[in-house]
């Protein structure tokens, strides 16, 4: 294609000028793409972490700082009451845990043991054995699922520990499962605690009296989670005979996800603004240099017209030149942005989150292509029309 060949020749004839023109595009697109890469990997790691949470359950507990905290506390008997009276609630379990010293043969460690149910609070992958099932809960068996951390401490020799017994205080638990090693990273949240036992076992052994700290409810329809939470709070206030001044805190995956998403949409707006400003500045640069180029080449344009180039052919030539200039700038910026983003990602983000995100090549390519198209259309059109509209006689006379 002669047009591209000629456009390349023109751009390469003035390499410094070409570079200075596109440097704005390189910086702008580079910044946008590197932030895009980082945002992508941060969002990916947070979604991965949250993915372990079940999305059909929520936790509820009274706000601890309030004066009537004791009075507001849930009672064990409330749970059945709520399950049977509030629509959409399918089950309710107690939430709680204790610190204990655990021992297997001569290996010991202090761990947090929490009550769990079926399905488990966190859908974390299992390395050996299984999670707590309905039989374990129904019979309140002394079985335990241990975390990777506890497994390493209590079973330093490795191997499948299921079927072996560990001691927690004076109680004996049968190991039925080991959770897989979590990803390594500072942001990684361990939702499951170190050891999980059936909540019925927990109730029998550790809850004396009726008062509980918190409860977990599962729902049939996760889409009306918020309404169900409100209904449960209302019911608790009735059962506890407290007014609406007594506050209860709920926690579910959607709340968490929304918080994270609102941070990322703020980041996206900032990136978009940076992009728009750099686009404008760089685009003006492209237009300026195209106008200079056209003035310099007035005689050439006159010659082309004299030998028979039509208006549209001159237009095409200069339009392609703008497009090439913009594309080279934008795609160089994309390459640099992916490079910087990828570098920061693998040397900092991965260490922080333990999550290795793949680079968003397709999104980056689309963003870059849109940038290049906008710059070309907005800032290349006028110079191209100006070149095409030159009067051949005056253009030929131009020195």
């Amino acid at each position: 294609m002669i047009y591209f060949e000629e456009a390349f020749r023109v751009l390469l004839a003035n390499p410094v000028r070409t570079f200075l023109t596109i440097i704005g595009l390189i910086i702008g697109v580079g910044a946008v793409i590197s932030i895009e890469v980082l945002g992508h990997s941060m969002a990916g790691s947070i979604n991965e972490t949250l993915g372990a949470l079940a999305d059909n359950s929520f936790i509820i507990f009274p706000v601890q700082t309030q004066k009537d905290f004791q009075k507001a506390s849930l009672r064990l008997t409330d749970l059945d009451e709520i399950t049977s009276s509030v629509p959409n609630v399918s089950s309710a379990t107690v939430i709680g845990g204790v610190q204990e010293l655990f021992r297997y043969e001569h290996n010991v460690g202090r761990f947090f043991m929490s009550a769990d149910s079926n399905p488990p609070f966190a859908n974390e992958p299992i390395k050996y054995g299984r999670t707590i099932d309905d039989d374990d809960i129904a019979q309140a068996l002394d079985v335990v699922v241990i975390s990777w951390k506890a497994y390493q401490r209590l079973f330093p020799d490795g191997g499948d520990p299921t079927g072996k017994s560990i001691y927690g205080g004076s109680r004996r638990y049968l190991v039925i499962g080991v959770r897989a090693q979590p990803r390594q990273g500072a942001l990684n949240v361990n939702f499951g605690g170190d050891l999980s036992i059936p909540y019925t076992t927990y109730l029998r052994e550790f809850v004396h009296g009726n008062r509980i700290f918190a409860a977990r409810f599962t729902v049939n329809d996760p889409s009306s989670m918020t309404e169900t939470e409100a209904a449960v709070i209302k019911r608790i206030r009735e059962l506890r005979q407290v007014g609406s001044d007594v506050r209860y805190q709920t926690f579910d995956k959607a709340q968490f996800t929304q918080g994270v998403n609102s941070i990322f949409s703020a980041v996206t707006i900032v990136v978009g603004l940076i992009g728009a400003v750099s686009l404008l500045v760089a685009g003006i640069g492209v237009m300026n240099i195209m106008l200079v180029s056209i003035t310099e080449r007035t005689k050439e344009i006159g010659t082309r017209k004299a030998i028979g180039a039509r208006r549209g052919q001159i237009l095409t030539q200069f339009f392609i030149e703008s497009a090439l200039l913009s594309s080279i700038g934008c795609f160089t910026g994309m390459a640099i942005g992916l490079g910087i983003g990828g570098f920061v990602n693998s040397f900092f983000i991965v260490k922080l989150t333990g999550y290795t995100a793949s680079l968003p090549y397709l999104q980056s390519f689309l963003i870059t292509a849109i940038f290049a198209a906008i710059v070309t259309l907005a800032f290349g059109t006028y110079p191209a029309f100006r070149a095409a509209g030159l009067d051949p006689i005056e253009a030929l006379r131009y020195e």
Binding site: T303, K305, A306, I307, G308, A309, R311, L396
Partner: protein
């Protein structure tokens, strides 16, 4: 090319430029017919209107009134794109300053009009080589303008003007930027092209150059004041080798 009509036929051509409210008449009614195969020089002092006449003949400009028939086609009232099409098919331009594309080798410069005409790459190269041979530059096909002498550059420009096999070859001071020796070479090339049947119209200040043509049109104040046919016999003997 020779279809029985004349190469160009101008009838009552008038051109008036408007600058604000002031009307400046430049051509007052030019009648000129040039037959196929003629070699014509147009002479006249600055401001005589010869450049304007040349622009009209070259379809770069339109007359204010009058008719212009180029190679059997009335081009008096065509729009810009149609005029571009006429220039592409029927005219070849040779400029004083050569006007070649820099950093572009001879063969690509020569084939540019064919690109605008939509001719395929292989065909463009074949025809470019043919016209480069006609001007004696086969060896220099892949040299860029800055690697060529002034005379060679003008030969490339002439080859470019010839590549579309034009009805009329228009040359505007083609030797104006060349030394005497090189000018003689270029004039010899025009003689050769005339000898092979090309129609040539040349604008020049130089009486010696003009005398090489077979017909001299003299313009003064927008009118043709003389249409001479010099005694060609003595010049042709020195020109044919």
């Amino acid at each position: 090319m020779n279809n029985g009509t004349s190469a160009i036929a101008l009838r009552e051509i008038k051109k008036t430029y408007k600058t604000g409210t002031l009307e400046v008449p430049v051509l007052h009614g030019i009648d000129l017919t040039v037959g196929h195969g003629e070699y014509v020089a147009i002479m006249g002092p600055s401001g005589s209107g010869k450049s304007t006449l040349m622009n009209i003949i070259g379809c770069l400009d339109r007359a204010t009134s009058g008719t212009y028939v180029l190679d059997g086609e009335d081009v008096s009232h065509l729009n810009d794109n149609a005029l571009a099409e006429i220039r592409l098919r029927k005219l070849g331009f040779v400029f004083q300053g050569f006007n070649l594309l820099a950093r572009t080798d001879a063969i690509k410069n020569v084939s540019l009009p064919l690109f605008y005409a939509g001719v395929s790459g292989a065909e463009r190269r074949r025809r470019a080589m043919a016209v480069l041979a006609e001007v004696g530059l086969t060896e220099r096909a892949h040299h860029k303008p800055n690697e060529l002498s002034g005379g060679q550059q003008q030969r490339v420009a002439i080859a470019r003007a010839l590549i579309n096999d034009p009805a009329v070859l228009l040359a505007d001071e083609p030797t104006g930027n060349l030394d005497t020796k090189t000018s003689a070479d270029i004039m010899a090339l025009f003689d050769k092209l005339h000898g092979s049947g090309r129609t040539i119209i040349m604008v020049t200040h130089d009486e010696n150059v003009a005398r090489r043509a077979r017909r001299i049109i003299r313009i003064l104040d927008g009118l043709i004041v003389a249409d001479e046919t010099p005694d060609a016999t003595e010049t042709t003997t020195t020109l044919r080798d």
